[in-house]
């Protein structure tokens, strides 16, 4: 079966599709979902179904990785799943180690993807059964858990992190209320009915604000966009570094897979959760946000692992883990692969093909990702100010292309100014983005849960999974306080 997949007529379209995924994922405004959606119709023209499947699966993994490239070099996440990579990856790029950070990113994405697919193959049925036990109550606490990570990632400044998260949730209330249908802060504007789009807000907050900051701090017009150093960091150094952080890779990949398996929780939540977990358990917390290698490894391993995790409920129950998987499922049906509990009995060969394709993709990611890194690195040798102007233009057209609406472009400009102001006041932006993503999940599940229980809050604390999540949350916040108290007592 492997020999069937490594045929020329399968391999070439597969690699080309993966390069396409790299390109789309690395362009802010073009999402991994868009990359998969665009490749699906092309895949139908392939004579061999394996070729079509390989193209679709290949694009979904590479687009997620590729979002880390502009996140690192330009602090503009190419996809929402890469927002966590901006924190430490960009700091490393400013220190002239962007290439090193991205090589680590590439290998960790590949390893994370391998672990995610490996877990998918081994424990798909068991994990899917667990995921089905999550109801509104559990999802509410999961979203709160994700938001609490925002206080964690804004280390040393919990108050501003929480304020930022609150602002994000508040922004998420704009539009039609999903529970009651009421209009909130729409001011009669049809564009606001669907709320603030996540992508334009993200481009504005991270991209445009960075351009403003760059202009204010730039000492020379001829300075290139990114410092490049002589290549002291060979692949051997990269591998040694990853090996020294092997536990981080493993923990983050497993966490990413589990979170990716939860329907509605995608690679973006997985990346943030892994970052927060790693920072919380690190002996060197203070280095996070300043170029910590673990800060690059954790989210990049998790987000690719989550892609594999999202396939667990998708294949076994036909419930897509995220938007990308939803499109892939649709494509599967066109290939007469019917996801569901009987898939392993009725279509074992197809399932094995899918597993093999997913595994081989993780290895093919390395050369495709390397080509993407080199191409992007070359572009960034241009003068800094030229790159900044190009960033603005791509921000505009990227935001516009989402809904063919200039309103999204206005959002980019507005949030660019907001982002610049907030960061000048030392208010972190990451929790705001998290609040925007998770706010609807928090509100919808809280209110739906209350409707189900007729206003009774007890199930939110007494259901077994909820109780565990509450205890983990309490431990996450109380543990440092208790440990600090114990340390002081011991010293006395």
């Amino acid at each position: 079966m492997i020999s069937d997949l490594l045929q020329f007529h399968v391999l070439v379209p597969w690699l080309l599709a993966m390069l396409f995924g790299i390109f789309v994922g690395a362009t802010p405004g073009l999402t991994a979902t868009m990359a998969v959606a665009l490749i699906v119709p092309v895949s139908f023209y392939m004579p061999d179904p394996n070729t079509g499947l390989a193209m679709i699966i290949g694009v979904s993994f590479t687009a997620i990785f590729a979002g880390d490239i502009p996140a690192t070099y330009l602090r503009i996440p190419g996809t929402p799943a890469s927002a966590a990579a901006t924190l430490d990856g960009h700091q490393l790029a400013k220190q002239g180690r962007g290439g090193f950070a991205l090589m680590i990113d590439l290998f960790c994405s590949s390893i994370g993807g391998l672990i995610g697919v490996g877990l998918l193959i081994l424990i798909a049925p068991q994990l899917a059964r667990f995921a089905l036990r999550f109801s509104n109550f559990e999802y509410f606490w999961l979203a709160i858990f994700g938001l609490s990570m925002s206080a964690v990632v804004s280390s040393g400044n919990t108050l501003r992190g929480l304020i930022s998260a609150g602002l994000g949730i508040l922004l998420a209330t704009v539009g039609l209320d999903i529970v009651s249908g009421a209009q909130r802060f729409t001011f009669g504007n049809a564009e606001l009915m669907s709320g603030f789009g996540f992508i334009p807000v993200m481009i504005g907050l991270f991209g445009v604000s960075e351009v403003i900051r760059s202009v204010l701090s730039s000492p020379s017009t001829s300075e290139s966009a990114i410092k490049t150093t002589a290549s002291k960091d060979s692949i051997w150094e990269v591998l040694k570094t990853i090996w020294s952080k092997k536990l981080t890779v493993l923990k983050s990949s497993v966490a990413g897979t589990v979170i990716g398996a939860l329907p509605g929780a995608g690679a973006d939540i997985a990346a943030w959760a892994a970052y927060g977990m790693e920072q919380r358990t690190s002996k060197d917390k203070e280095s996070f946000g300043k170029g910590a290698i673990a800060g690059v490894i954790a989210p990049t391993s998790a987000n690719n692992a989550a892609v594999g995790g999202a396939w667990i409920p998708a294949l076994v129950f036909g419930i897509p883990g995220d938007a990308v998987t939803a499109i892939v499922l649709g494509a599967f049906m066109m290939y007469e692969i019917k996801p569901g509990p009987l898939i392993f009995q009725q279509n074992p060969e197809q399932v094995h093909s899918i597993f093999l394709i997913a595994l081989i993709t993780q290895f093919l990611l390395l050369p495709c990702g390397y080509i993407g890194l080199k191409t992007f690195g070359w572009i960034l040798r241009l003068p800094r100010n030229v790159v900044m102007v190009a960033v603005l233009v791509f921000s505009v057209v990227g935001a516009y292309s989402l809904r063919n609406s200039l309103f999204d472009v206005y959002l980019v400009a507005g949030f660019g100014l907001v982002g610049f102001y907030l960061e000048s006041q030392k208010a972190p932006l990451a929790p705001l983005i998290l609040g925007l993503i998770l706010g609807p999940m928090v509100e919808e599940n809280l209110r739906t849960g209350l409707i189900k229980t007729e206003g009774d809050l007890t199930p939110f604390f007494t259901r077994p999974i909820c109780a565990v999540l509450v205890l983990i949350l309490a431990a996450a916040f109380l543990a440092p306080v208790v440990l600090s108290w114990i340390r002081k007592r011991v010293q006395v």
């Binding site: 100010n385 603005l392 200039l406």
Partner: protein
């Protein structure tokens, strides 16, 4: 002015801005109307806007108090610290302001002049404002506009604004 000084010594306006923002949100929350067919157990669409506004206002108050405490303890005024000459700071601020102004003009004018012409003019003007030589600025703008049009306009079939002149793509 270095980035580190921008970060360290904030102006302390955040608390006030947050309180004003929260009050504005509370004011407009009055316009939220339920459609009347909801469930009595649903706390309603106003819960989160009102609750979060109150929390943000409270956070702003804590922020103001924290700034005041630091100010009185350190005995220094909390303000922006100039580490380079005042003129250099002023020039950079003017340039950043002009850049954002140009950017706003670009996006507001785009429906009328179209994407192609708007980007050509805007990108050239921006690069010249950032002291890129005009020949390089023009060449890069032409290349940039071409690449974006080919990519988004032709490959992804995004209907970019053509403006009143109906320029290509």
């Amino acid at each position: 002015m270095s980035e580190s000084s921008l970060g360290k010594n904030r102006s302390g306006s955040l608390g006030y801005v947050l309180i004003v923002f929260a009050l504005i949100v509370l004011y407009f929350s009055r316009d939220i109307r339920e459609l009347g067919f909801g469930n009595n157990s649903d706390p309603g669409p106003m819960l989160f806007p009102v609750g979060l506004s109150i929390l943000i206002a409270f956070g702003g108050a804590i922020e103001i108090y924290a700034n005041w405490k630091v100010k009185t303890q350190s005995g220094e005024a909390i303000g922006l610290v100039d580490e380079s000459s005042a003129l250099d700071v002023k020039n950079k601020r003017l340039r950043a302001g002009a850049l954002m102004g140009l950017f706003l003009v670009y996006i507001l004018a785009m429906p009328y002049v179209g994407f192609t012409l708007g980007t050509l003019v805007f990108a050239t003007a921006m690069m010249m404002l950032l002291k890129i030589p005009w020949k390089m600025a023009l060449s890069v703008s032409v290349a940039l506009t071409l690449v974006v049009n080919l990519l988004f306009g032709m490959l992804f079939h995004v209907p970019l604004p053509s403006g009143i002149f109906g320029l290509p793509f």
